[in-house]
Amino acid sequence: LSAEAQQQLFAYALVLPVVLLLAGLVAYPLVYAVYVSFTNLVVGGTGQWIGFANFRYLAGSPVFASAIWNTIVLVVISDVFKLAIGLGLALLVSQKIPARGLFRSFLMLPWAMPAFVAFLTWRVLYQPIGGGFNLVLTKTGIYPEIVDWLGQRSTAMPAVIAASVWRGFPFWFISILAALQNIPTELYEAARMDGANAWQRFRAVTWPGIKRVVIITTLLSSIWTANSFESVWLLTQGGPSDATMVFPVWPISACRRSALGRLPLSLLPCSPPCSFWSSSPRRSCRATRTSRMER
């Protein structure tokens, strides 16, 4: 064997374990999930090929429809709030403010916390009996009645969104702050010399400097929120009466009473972002690398 070929073999041998493990643990299950979606497999049984029946069932299922709608609502609204809060606080922290370092670390606290700890805490805060929010609202007289935040359809989704924003905004904050700190101060001085007011400075200097980061953060945050299981599962499990049912929660809540084929199928809508992202590996690899670190 030539030295060149030997080196090639060596290189392949080194990546082989990762490729094999991922093929077995990700690619194979994925393909299997697609196959199962054409069968009537249930837990403990053997499936038979039933064609597109599962797809037809889902198309006519009201829970599935509301899962689509709820996932969109959750992602869009919480992203808007995360952007507003993250950007606002990043702009604030990039100014001269008292106790800046300490303030910044406190803001990162929700993100540093394990997701299940964060959402269980919020669940306790929302409790009608002994919950922190009801206590504050009734004590201060802002709203005198006890509200069962997670137990009624009208407040359940806003409550989930609030908790998700609380946990997720620090990532936006720190990403935007990092981008802000990369903008040369000379640009601001020049803009000031030209007589630009605060809003004009933001439009002409700040926004172009952070635009890319905001776009990447939006994409990542949307993928995470759309796939985040803990938030909804720990707060409401998709209830009350499916008011907060989202894609990642639906299969597990339906796991024991439904044909398995319907379940993975229901999640296929979550995967387009994946294929979109894998088409530009270079950019996204950098983005994912830095962002996972921030986590």
């Binding site: 990546v15 991922l22 379940l263 995967s271």
Partner: protein, 282 residues
Amino acid sequence: MRASSGLLGRDLIARALIILVMVVALLFVLFPVYWMVITSLKLPREIFRVPSLWPQVFTAANYRILIEDKEFLVAIRNSFIVASSVTLISLVVASLAAYSMVRFRYRFKGLIGRLILFAYLTPTSLLFIPLSILIARLQLGNTLHGLIFVYLTFSLPVSTWMLQAYFAAVPRELEEQGMIDGLSRLGALFRIVLPLSAPGLAAVAIFTFTGAWNELLLALVLIHLRVAPHGAACPQLPHHERCLAVGPAHGRRSPILCPADDPLLRGAALYRAGHHAGSVKG
């Protein structure tokens, strides 16, 4: 005179506004944390019957019950076993792959890179049903081995990507010198590249460990109560409503917070250190 005093007044108002915003932001961020800590220090009757912002009686009873609770300790131990095994396995396997992808040129490198990225971006919620069937077929259902195995689905891709960045920062010349002195390729990896990427390895290890420690969905699906890592232990209790309804269980949360909390912050620091280490290029 007047103009300057007017300016001073505006400055004061601006400062007051900034402080006001800071206070509101801190209240929003810290109130849930405060509530968690304070509730864990309350007696059960105080948690529900007379909720208050400040406990009348401080008690460590919740924590004592927790530490005396066998199931909790087993859960912590299991979490530890699973998280450290996953970390160890993915560090070894991912460093080999990352090294190969950084140092060599070969035909399917781009494809393999894409596969790894795709694996990372595949949502767990899409995989857990086929994975649970796979694990059941392998007779690994409800075992820690099975859990370690499936956790590789998210730990391997991330570790490989992150390690590539650290390895790329190690100058190729150092390795070549080592090989002139008689090291093999693998020797160069283990004797030169890995030691030089130590901060990066530590960051990846902490990151992977935290991810495995905090994982909930797969643990919930694959594991029944007896061996559940602590992430799954609480929500999976048969009457998990009650898990929140009693003081001891609530106190449960604060101790869990600590171990997973610190490494992450330290990891962030190491990550920065890693950057510096990489930038000192010969």
